[in-house]
């Protein structure tokens, strides 16, 4: 094998392992951080027993889930039932393939781009892949052969399809400004000025629909405990449940990373190294997710649909119109 190709493969593998490892680590720390931050916002203490300030709580939870009995309901559609958690988890992870997390660096004489792969249709790839996440939830709801799960799955698919539209449209403004679908170009274009300054409305719409897209509070209707027991994952136990749990957090990290890439200047920032800036911005976004969760009550289902179709969708179209007008006037 020639040397160039070998080096290319090794670099690619190392990058993939590094990124996926980091995401998994972030998921674990997010579980602890979310419980802790939310507790303090709600004037509680949160986990305190396992390790100092409950630091080992996610590990304890993980071990507990591993040792639980793995139940598959008798009348469940076995194949889909087993496949669903993986279908929920994988799209969240592979979206990261196109997200740039740092500038070019020189390691051992090789120029390494700190992005797994820079494809020229990165924007389309992100949305194509993230839409696949719905399948996991719908399959889980249907395969469980349980009315509550099915209702949760249906709600979830309706919600995610509605908000996917605004999610995509809110980013069109940025794509118009950059005149490229590549995420690396989007970040490079933000060297001087972050897109959030040029597209504040776009950022607002993106973040709102992103919360709805990953089924987080206040849009966590698919798992509305008071109505649907636990929604699509009612019948899941053991590690299969843990997969859904991790998928939710991985999804949250993914949409935050997209928000950072498109609106908050990616890895650009003064003084600190680019990767640190990227992580800082990502943490900021994730903190905002938790902050919102611990503050707002859940929306009713019709309110959710009204907000999506009658408010956010026209607003995102308006955003595109205004962006287009300004671009034409400025030439």
């Amino acid at each position: 094998m020639n040397k160039e190709l070998f080096a290319y493969l090794v670099i690619a593998c190392v990058k993939i392992l590094l990124v996926f490892g980091t995401i998994q680590l972030m998921v674990i720390s997010m579980i602890w951080l979310e419980r802790k931050i939310m507790a303090h916002m709600q004037v509680r203490l949160g986990p305190m027993r396992v390790g100092p300030h409950g630091l080992l709580q996610p590990i304890a939870d993980g071990i507990k889930l591993l040792f639980k009995e793995d139940i598959i309901p008798e009348k469940a559609s076995k194949l889909l039932f087993v496949l669903a958690p993986a279908m929920a988890m994988i799209p969240a992870l592979i979206t990261f393939a196109v997200i740039p997390f740092g500038d070019k660096v020189k390691i051992l004489g090789y120029n390494v781009d700190l992005v797994i792969t820079d494809i020229n249709i990165g924007f389309l790839y992100v949305f194509a892949v993230s839409s696949l996440g719905i399948y996991g939830i719908v399959m889980a709801g249907w395969a469980s052969n349980n009315k509550y799960s099915l209702l949760g799955g249906i709600r979830s698919s309706a919600q995610m399809i509605s908000y996917e539209l605004t999610l995509g449209l809110s980013l069109i403004g940025v794509v118009m400004l950059t005149e490229s679908l590549s995420l690396v170009d989007v970040v490079n274009a933000q060297g001087k000025l972050w897109n959030i300054v040029l597209q504040p409305l776009g950022f607002f719409i993106y973040f709102t629909s992103a919360i709805a897209e990953v089924n987080r509070c206040p849009f966590d209707l698919p798992e509305a405990e008071s109505e649907l027991v636990a929604g699509y994952h009612t019948e899941y136990s053991s590690m299969k449940f843990a997969m859904f749990f991790m998928a939710e957090y991985a999804n949250m990290i993914t949409v935050s990373a997209i928000a950072v890439t498109f609106f908050l200047g990616g890895w650009h920032g003064p003084f600190l190294p680019p990767v640190v800036w990227f992580m800082l911005k990502l943490s900021g976004c994730l903190f905002f997710f938790i902050w919102i969760r611990s503050t707002f009550p859940r929306l009713r289902y019709d309110q959710l649909m009204h907000l999506g179709w009658k408010f956010l969708l026209p607003l995102s179209l308006l955003n595109i119109l205004i962006t287009g007008l300004i671009m034409v006037i400025k030439g």
């Binding site: 303090h40 916002m41 709600q42 004037v43 203490l45 902050w291 919102i292 611990s294 503050t295 707002f296």
Partner: protein
């Protein structure tokens, strides 16, 4: 529509940045501060002569809504009435404090004992146990 949302976010952030507002007590490590009027387990009081104050009038047993008190009185050689048997079923007690109100000699008082979990499905505090609670309290620390 947006302003109330921002107000809510500001409130949660203020709470987050000021952990001293936290109301949770990490219980076994840190004891709760009980008010002076806290109603825990009723305890039999000891008089100046070192004996129980109780005169076995039976008013506490009469007034008790859960009927958890059983008193059997007797008379000693100086014709002072005292409870020969005094039993309080901690399983049935609802900590209402009526016995304390009814007692004419303030011989039974609800204090701050509240850790009453046991491994048996029956727990009866007899006279000795109820007096011990007070004796332990009177010991110099």
């Amino acid at each position: 529509m947006i302003l109330p949302l921002i107000k809510g976010l500001a409130l949660t952030l203020r709470r987050f940045l000021n952990p001293r507002t936290c109301v949770t007590i990490p219980y076994p490590d840190e004891r709760p501060k009980l008010s002076a009027r806290f109603r825990g387990l009723p305890e039999l009081q000891i008089g100046k002569d070192g004996r129980e104050k109780c005169v076995a009038c039976g008013l506490c047993a009469k007034v008790c809504p859960s009927q958890c008190i059983y008193v059997e009185g007797a008379e000693d050689e100086t014709h002072r009435r005292y409870p020969k048997i005094y039993e309080l079923d901690a399983f049935r007690c609802i900590f209402c404090g009526f016995c304390e109100e009814a007692c004419p000699v303030r011989a039974i008082i609800l204090r701050d004992t509240f850790e009453l979990a046991t491994y048996q499905n029956k727990e009866i505090f007899d006279k000795e146990k109820l007096l011990d609670l007070t004796k332990k309290r009177n010991l110099p620390k």
